[in-house]
Symmetry: C2
Subunit: 223 residues, 2 copies
DNA sequence: GAGTGGTCTAGACCACGAG
DNA sequence: TCGTGGTCTAGACCACTCA
């Protein structure tokens, strides 16, 4: 016996899949939908939150619930998102001093002057991904983007988690939707960290792709 | 102004981190906790569901809410999990024929004979990660593990999502806990796929690490 | 100001686990 | 049988958006 919220979610999913509710369309208001399905508003909201966690709808406070555009998955590869056509980017630059997690991440002393670039990408007006990039202030390039000569090695640590409340609200995703969190650290040939980045990609809209080529020496090794 | 559920979740998180609530311990019952925090039971349950999605607690119907054992994060690097000390592995081998998703993944014709290796790793009696590895039957190595000479390139596609119901039950995790899903495809020098793998790593217990070295030509490129 | 979603309450009833 | 979590109700009040 499926619960009411699952039954309602199934019904709405089917309506979206069948095209009865088009991408971008606004759903009836929550009290209206609750009356239609003969349930209380919390139960209906529970059903909607399932759809939100799947990335099917977007809730906008004060405006309504909207059917999301079918997800075009973007692929993150080597620091770039593809395709980057109709992807809008907002950048905010802040100067700050190293503290907390940033100190071991960038391997710098406390209070080292840093520049933070906050990237917020949008796809068709809806937020898509979030990146915070930290660069020691004496290395800040004169013009963006960043990838510069002199880089020798990049380490990317990938984890899956739920977004923090701030991430959820800026990306307008449910706090239960899985995100791909990537911490990227790039060093130059001397081992100095030239850039550290924290990326947050909603799991339903992005993949990350890593390609490695095996050299002959590596190929011969056994376990 | 943080919401009540976030404030309660923060408090419980802090208590778990501080060791006031030990691993394996049962939390007070939900009505009791609700009274303690002076909130209604739905609000308290809302807070608990946040902790559940983070993998901090496990809800067992009819028994209670339990603090999960502290996560020892394992790191996945280039096809291996480290550290592999006290990590137990169960392997099940099955012969089957290519169908569905496996056909494009391995770039083989339909019904090509394949061998599937199902890996289930355990850490301290509790399931840790799940891997399904597919190899064309004529390439199955005489002895395990797999990494063989002749491999030229490996592509790894990483995504974050919630587990399927089967994955949630075999890994004994909540269906709201994010997992890292990695699809790994390895080719030989002729471009033939010699192995494809689907890995599922619970987000609270595993990272994936990718290291790339930049060659001199790459280092010169702009944008 | 009117309409929307966001949060919260104070209950009720059901389903599961263990003695 | 008892205590647990799971679901649901019928409201209340607040915060946000837009005219």
């Amino acid at each position: 016996m499926p619960s009411l919220r699952d039954a309602i979610a199934d019904d709405l999913r089917a309506q979206i899949a069948a095209g009865h509710l088009e991408a971008g369309a606004r759903l009836p208001s929550e009290p209206r939908l609750a009356a239609q399905y003969k349930v209380s508003t919390p139960t209906l909201r529970n059903a909607l939150s399932l759809l939100q966690a799947e990335g099917l709808i977007e809730k906008i406070h004060g405006k309504g619930n909207f059917v999301r555009h079918p997800l075009r998955r973007l692929t993150y590869t080597g620091g770039l998102l593809t395709p980057d056509t109709d992807l809008y980017v907002t950048i905010r630059t802040t100067n700050l001093r190293a503290r907390g997690d940033l100190i071991p991440l960038l391997k710098v002393p406390s209070r080292t002057p840093l520049t933070e670039f906050l990237y917020l990408t949008h796809q068709r007006e809806s937020p898509h991904s979030l990146a915070r990039i930290y660069v020691p202030q004496d290395l800040v390039p004169a013009k963006l983007p960043w990838r510069r000569p002199g880089w020798a090695e990049t380490q990317e640590t990938v984890t899956a988690r739920v977004p923090t409340p701030e991430e959820a609200s800026t990306l307008r995703i449910s706090s239960t939707l899985a995100v791909l969190a990537i911490t990227r650290v790039s060093c130059d040939t001397t081992g100095r960290v030239v850039e550290a980045a924290r990326l947050v990609l909603p799991g339903d809209r992005a993949n990350a792709l890593f390609i490695s080529h095996h050299t002959t020496e590596e190929r011969g090794t056994e376990e």
